[in-house]
């Protein structure tokens, strides 16, 4: 079985639906920011060095470090 994809693997313009969080601490912060399981997230662009990454969540722009983005897995 392949590992579920994470937010960090989305390409610009690509959308995904949050499934679950791998890191409890980060999950709490992400929940505060409106990233809940079931929320649709679109990857907008990344910083020139590939990190951090900017996403569109509920109509606003959220920027996450790559490491943080890869702790969020997506619904297959």
């Amino acid at each position: 079985m392949t590992k579920p994809r994470t937010l960090a693997q989305l390409k610009p313009g690509e959308q995904g639906e949050i499934c679950c969080f791998k890191d409890d601490k980060l999950a709490l912060k992400l929940l505060d920011m409106g990233c809940l399981p079931g929320t649709r997230v679109e990857m907008k662009f990344h910083a020139p060095l590939g990190d951090p990454i900017c996403f569109s969540v509920d109509g606003y722009r959220l920027c996450l470090r790559k490491e943080e983005a890869s702790s969020v897995s997506l619904v297959e």
Partner: protein, 688 residues
Amino acid sequence: MSKDRSLTIALIGNPNSGKTSLFNQLTGLHQKIGNFPGVTVDKKTGMMPVTGHPAAKIIDLPGTYSLYAKSKDEDVVTDVLINPAVKDSPDLLVVIVDVSNLKRNLLLFTQVKDLGYPTILVLNMGDLATRMGKGVDLQMLEKELGVQVLTINARTGDGISALKNTLLRSQTTNHQEFLDIREIVGEKVREQMNGHHLIRPYLALHSLLRRNAIDKDTAQSLEARETTLRYRKISKLVTDVEHNQPQKGLKIYTDRIDKILTHQIFGYIIFLGILFTIFQSIFAWATVPMNFIDHWIAQTSGWLGLVLPPGVFTDLLKDGIVPGVGGVVIFIPQIAILFAFIAILEESGYMARVVFLMDKIMRGVGLSGRSVVPLISGVACAIPAIMATRNIEHWKERLITIFVTPLISCSARLPVYTILIALVIPQRELLGIINLQGLVLLSLYLVGFFAAIGSAYLLKRIMHSSERSFLIMELPTYKMPRWKNVGIVILEKVKAFSFTAGKIIIAISIVLWVLSSYGPGEKIKHAEEYVRTTTSTLDLSKKEIDDRISSYKLEHSYAATLGHIIEPVIAPLGFNWKIGIALVTSFAAREVFVGTMATLYSIESSADNTTTIMSRMKDEKNPRTGKSFYTIPMGLSLMIFYAFAMQCMSTLAVVHRETKSWKWPFLQTIYMSGLAYLASFLVFRLFS
């Protein structure tokens, strides 16, 4: 609330929700900077003047996304709301919500509301929301949430007077809870809550959490469950109250600008261009008012000498206090200009992009994207730079930034570099094109920059922090800066600097004045006599005699005694006791070096006639070798010393203010002076 006490109102909201604009609208210039002891970030308070009432006190709390604080400044919010012992416990809460982002903003609102304070919800209808055609059914929202809902435009001021009236009248009772926390906490916590004699269950829960009465795992899963449930209810509510117009074209503006400003190449070019503009204006624009202030201080000082009867008090006033005040005032233009830029970048939304662009690079050395602005500002002056570290949420990263920023060569080092370079570095071209003197100057700036980066890396390695570093940051939409907000920021920073750092600078300049005006024994008293008899055969002007007198006085002052005492310590670096005096006097501020040297080499002290100072310094002979004392190794060693040493009382004062402890300024002094000593020693040995 009793009638005789004035009303205290706290403003709460997400970052970028327009909270600061609202605070400025309500209080105008009636703001003061307050501190919470033990907490690192300031909350601001201001008075809202109202005719016919005692002025209401407004507290502007740091922006936060949730009552579950994830950083030090967010913790301030929770502390004010949960801790019953806190000073300024609010009577009324105003939660401001950005209507273009209703869902996420309402999370904080529903948490705050459930604490049970009288609460008012203010919808900030930005220009954006209006343009997007987002409509909200206010009556339905009021009914569903059980609080009064008002709309304002914090930028234009629409709806502010209606809000003010409501604030004074409002005794809004707030009984109905948005989420019944008792249903989700589970048996054990419910019992704990019941033992806690508070009417409000949600307040009881937060009190327990603050006292760490609930074990970590339970607390975490509880928080996750609560947030998820709140969002579920909010989502439903928002779908009901929001007439969602087709949202096409939404935020296209910001996306377009971002395409350019965060572009792989243009992004950095534009950032460098902005940096260059900031430097240019700090060095070019600020010199005009700075020269004016300098001149004005010298004039006042001279004028006081003429009008006041001669005596100790007059001397203290004209040579101690007035220049001391001048030393504070002279930094104001740079601080004002720098913060004007920072405020504009912040207000426009660009600052978040700087963080976005630089984060990866800075993280390698223990800093964060948010450290970039302070480090840049350090080239002008470490004082405003350290004040600009406030928006670094992560305490360790903020501390490292504060710690290394003074290593960046600030503008006060420039006069020292200039005179020493001119003195010891030959005017020669390298490879026919590179000016050797310019190269040395550039190297000094680079040495400072790399020392800062290196030290940051070192600190990253040795400092431990349980707080986790993350960058979960909203990129706000671009906005035109509000000039009123920019003006208020400038005023606030200038005020903070003048009153806090100012007091210490003035105190130190008085001490230094005493040290350099008095000395052991009778020599200083007879200075005039002595100089006059020894120079009677020479044909000197009155000016030259006066200069020799002041030089003679300084040579026999306590400052000189100190210079002689430290001479053995600094001899390995190639310095003599005269430089020792300069090191002692420039402990308060580096630029004093030039003035001290001028006095010591008895030349016109107020003149910027560097050629005279230099020719005198060149004449100084090394008693052992008989050659010029100011050799290349000695000059380089001294320059390196000034590049690294912590010689700025104002910086120490600001570090103390920002870290709320003497530990960090103390460690910083030890570290930087140690580094300076070691580097100078190595340079001196290497080049000798």
